[in-house]
């Protein structure tokens, strides 16, 4: 793969990761949020695949396949099942309204670009220049966790944080070892499955997914 094409593909996939994080904040419909998360997972896998293809290394390609299967197929399917069991399918009243959270996310992105400038300056290359995007996605994920009320959206926020970390790992280390990635992926899958069980239990107990309803203890 030629140099400029590689840089463009890397920039495009990394940019897609960031845009998907914004779509998660922008949409109210839980199904659309999960779709954005799936696209983001595919884009993260794309980053690994592009860098593997560039360095003519097979291991990142296998990692990319694992990441794609997990983040773009399995986890979204689990979340979709949780939403599909009826009840409310929209994030109706986030704690911070949508235009304000979009502007906050833009500010977080600027902060992450400003904060990671020294890190990028250590070894400037096309890969390290996308590190700010990973940091921004982590921050946006934390913001989602803090300002959304529904259990599903909070799981999505958690997964955004994970996608951001995975992106940084792929671009900063020139290929994550397969064993490490397998371990992290299994952890993530288990966490999502446990969260799904908790969410379903919560719905059977309280009849909804609103975490604000869990503020007091009852018999």
């Amino acid at each position: 793969m030629s140099g400029s094409l590689y840089v463009q593909l890397l920039d495009l996939t990394a940019g897609l990761v960031l845009v998907c994080a914004f779509v998660v904040l922008w949409r109210r419909d839980l199904a659309a949020i999960i779709r954005a998360l799936a696209v983001q997972g595919a884009a993260v896998a794309g980053v690994a695949a592009v860098s593997g293809a560039h360095h003519r290394d097979a291991e990142p390609l296998v990692v990319a396949a694992v990441v794609f299967g997990l983040k773009a197929v399995a986890v979204p399917a689990v979340l979709r099942r949780t939403v599909g069991r009826g009840g409310d399918t929209r994030e109706v009243t986030p704690l911070v309204n949508i235009p304000a959270s979009l502007v906050a996310a833009a500010a977080l992105t600027l902060v992450s670009y400003a904060a990671t400038t020294p890190v990028v300056a250590v070894a400037p290359s096309p890969e390290t220049r996308t590190i700010p995007i990973g940091v921004a996605v982590v921050l946006i994920g934390l913001f989602t966790l803090a300002t959304r009320r529904k259990a599903i959206t909070q799981i999505v926020g958690f997964l955004l944080v994970d996608n951001g970390i995975a992106l940084i790992a792929f671009v900063a280390t020139a290929g994550v070892p397969l064993v490490v990635e397998l371990g992290a992926s299994l952890d993530l899958l288990l966490a999502v499955l446990i969260l799904q069980v908790l969410t379903v239990r919560m719905r059977t107990k309280t009849g909804g997914l609103d975490l604000d309803a869990l503020q007091e203890l009852r018999d």
């Binding site: 495009l12 845009v19 992105t109």
Partner: protein, 315 residues
């Protein structure tokens, strides 16, 4: 043999004016076909305009001179933009005008003139439409500037002709992250500024939903024809701006007649395709609630801001 710069400017104005009602006809036709109707002929908007121009001029009783001047302001500002933006040739005929800030504010002058004209006769609908239009314009305008600004950073100039020439010289820039983000932001703004679905519905006359139509409700005859022509030209100019900035292929860089002719054809084809795509998109979306419009525009503003950030840091 070469084509003079003034001739190119005149050609651009002629092409925009001539194709504007046809573009409206094309969008209506595409919409009708997708909905399973036969639809009116593509030339129908031209026939409507001819009919309206032939009518008697009627002005509301209490309207002031603003009411009569506004349609002329709209059409003349859009024509000036049509002459200055590098639609056909990058040899900017009106060098000072073909600047990103000038173009954005010239378009805004037309919007403000129409909003004033909506307020002028003192009817309830006109005021409501004007207030809505101003809300949308105030939110959309920073996005227009930011989106084009993202493209002007790599070109190191805010002159639209230079931006287009820079993209033509380095075609790989056209598919970079910043231009994709800027394209998405700009597309939303074009929809908002041109008053299309899901921000405004150009086909409705329902009190609660109309924005642009409410503003121009008092117009009749030749004035209405000018307003409609201005709105159609605005759509062509916005779509043409989008085509020139993000897909500048075919735009002439020299003044040879053959190249200019080819560029004109390319311009008409690009705007036609964009218009048809817009109409196709409109079939699948419902109009957004007015209070949700700021959300959409905030999203596009954020995309434009990201585009600027990325072009600044990745450059």
């Amino acid at each position: 043999m070469t084509v003079g710069d003034d001739a190119v400017a005149a050609l651009q104005v002629l092409v925009v004016t001539g194709s504007a009602p046809l573009l409206v006809g094309v969008t209506r036709k595409v919409r009708a076909l997708l909905e399973g109707r036969a639809g009116a002929s593509v030339a129908q908007p031209w026939r409507d305009l001819r009919k309206l121009f032939g009518k008697e001029r009627i002005v509301p009783e209490h309207a002031s001179w603003v009411f009569g001047v506004a349609p002329l302001v709209v059409v003349s500002t859009v024509s000036l933009v049509a002459a200055a933006v590098p639609f056909v040739s990058t040899r900017a005929p009106l060098a000072g005008v073909g600047d990103l800030f000038t173009v954005a504010y010239l378009l805004l002058v037309g919007t403000v003139a129409l909003a004033l004209a909506g307020l002028d006769p003192g009817t309830a609908f006109g005021g409501m439409g004007a207030s809505r239009e101003m809300t949308i314009a105030a939110l959309a305008e920073p996005t227009v500037l930011l989106a084009v600004f993202a493209l002007s950073v790599p070109a190191r100039s805010s002159s639209l002709a230079r931006i287009v020439a820079a993209t033509l010289a380095a075609p790989h820039r056209a598919v970079s992250v910043e231009s994709l983000l800027a394209f998405a932001a700009f597309a939303v703004v074009v929809v908002a500024e041109a008053g299309r679905l899901p921000v405004d519905n150009p086909a409705t006359h329902l009190e609660l939903t109309m924005v642009h139509e409410a503003m121009v409700l008092e117009y009749a005859g030749p004035d209405l024809a000018l307003v409609e022509l201005g709105a159609a030209m605005r759509l062509v100019v916005l779509l043409g701006l989008m085509a020139s900035l993000f897909a500048p292929w075919g735009i002439a860089t020299t003044a040879r007649p053959a190249q200019v002719a080819l560029a004109t054809l390319a311009f008409v084809a690009k705007v036609g395709v964009l218009g048809a795509a817009l109409a196709g998109f409109e079939v699948f979306v419902a109009k957004l609630r007015l209070f949700r419009v700021p959300e959409l525009l905030a999203a596009s503003f954020v995309l434009a801001l990201l585009a600027v950030t990325v072009s600044f840091f990745l450059a």
